[in-house]
């Protein structure tokens, strides 16, 4: 069994091997035990400084990364674009190089431009972790989603996972597709035709437009948010219509007649893609996903730090 990742950076799930993903999961198992101890902290990263650079808004991911870093005893600095010199016209490379000259070892970055982390990895020395780049990838979210499914169902091989909602604008969807497929799961997406990229079948992903049929097929439903902030034109007539045709409610879920695990990466638009009684039901593992997020991110930080 390998004990280290095949890569120095976490730019996307696309660049990980199945063994890398398994190693992250097994390491996360041990960190999950650590964060349930009375003292939830280990000294592994005590000589490491991590910069969290968020060029785009985030609550969950930023807090989750920061907690993961602190529980590994790393020093952290936080940066958010709105309160920085970026608004004065500084380039990304200049901003990051300025931070790096203060002896930072790792960068966790969220950026609206797809490929921004790849650009950094080519030009600077620190380990880069992609915390979401535009509509491209959000690898740690996909890892914690798959980790949460593994916790519920065991090995993912052969499991049927459906991703609902705005696939076109979702980095979570793309990372999830790569991750689940590498672990041997079957993946379908379901949403209005306008929100599903037309080349998706080339990735081996099934495309469906009927929510009921998809729910009957799947073991796990990962429901994504409608990303209104990324939609420059109208992709569907109204939120009400979307919710009527593509939303998941209790009545629909109960009529399926089997237990389906409901996931959501947050933030939830209650009453749009998912109703409150589904989000808060016994089917939902939304809060477990958040808890697992810290353990999985600790594993990623720890394993990348080991690669120097």
């Amino acid at each position: 069994m390998q004990a280290q990742l095949s890569t120095k950076h976490l730019l996307g799930i696309k660049y990980l091997t199945e063994d890398d993903i398994q190693l992250i999961f097994e390491t996360a198992d041990e960190f999950k035990e650590v964060i349930n101890r009375p003292i939830k902290k280990v000294p592994s990263l005590r000589d490491i400084t991590v910069a969290n650079m968020f060029f785009e808004n985030s609550t969950r991911t930023r807090i989750s990364f920061e907690l993961a870093e602190k529980r590994l005893s790393a020093d952290t600095v936080n940066f958010s674009a709105s309160a920085s010199s970026v608004s004065k016209g500084e380039t990304l490379l200049d901003t990051v190089n300025n931070v790096l000259s203060m002896k930072v070892d790792m960068i966790v970055m969220r950026h609206p431009a797809p490929g921004a982390p790849q650009f950094l990895a080519r030009n600077i020395k620190a380990n880069i972790i992609n915390a979401g780049d535009g509509t491209h990838e959000h690898p740690t979210q996909a890892l914690l989603d798959a980790y949460s499914i593994r916790e519920q169902l065991g090995d993912l091989s052969g499991k049927k996972i459906a991703i609902f909602g705005d696939i076109t604008h979702s980095r979570v969807a793309l990372s999830n597709i790569f991750c689940l497929q590498k672990l041997g799961a079957e993946v379908k997406v379901c949403g209005p035709p306008t929100l599903i990229p037309k080349h998706l079948p080339a990735l081996g992903v099934g495309v469906e437009h009927d929510v009921r049929k998809t729910l009957e097929w799947c073991d796990v439903a990962n429901v994504l948010r409608i990303q209104l902030e990324r939609q420059d034109i109208k992709y569907f007539p109204s939120l009400r219509e979307y919710s009527l045709y593509f939303g998941i409610n209790r009545e629909l879920l109960d009529s399926i007649g089997k237990k389906i695990i409901i996931m959501h990466p947050g933030p939830i638009n209650r009453g749009v893609e998912i109703t409150s009684d589904v989000a808060d039901s016994e089917h939902s593992i939304i809060l477990q996903q958040v808890e697992n997020g810290v353990a999985v991110r600790m594993a990623v930080l720890y394993l990348l730090a080991a690669r120097k």
Partner: protein, 183 residues
Amino acid sequence: MSNGRVILTKERFALTIDRLCHQLIENHDDFQNSCLIGIQQGGVPLVNRIHQRLLEITGATSIENGKLDITFYRDDFRRREKPIRANVTEMDFLIEGKNVVLMDDVLYTGRSVQAAMSALGDFGRPHKVELLTLVDRRFNRDLPIKADYAGLRVDSLDDAYVRVDWQEVEGEDQVLLFPQGNG
């Protein structure tokens, strides 16, 4: 690998384990306020064996025992050539105020024990911590650490390598000394 010399045979191995058990009983009485903790990975078969023998000898029904992984506490993270995988930590009891017996198969530089003691601190404040080791390589210490109970004391050069085999893992209880390298 081929030139290993057996320094503790199967028969002597059993005697040594029994002696360690009796020494523990002298100091810990009925183990009401004591617990046994094996350091991953070498200390785990040792703690299992000692626990089982203690139950047989004392007639007790259970003695608290667990395994402690020290991967995240090691002082050579990012400094060693070969990375190591984390192992399971299983301590489903409190160590606050207890007499803890830490166990490892071989005591060499003392760095694992140091890491284990910082890891232990994250589980509470024990009353007392003791160290039991099956093999004590007594002249190779990097840190001021010594074993309270030692099965076999070995004088060996830094180049040498000591390997402990277990019936349940390798098929035979024995301790081997290799004059050179990483058997």
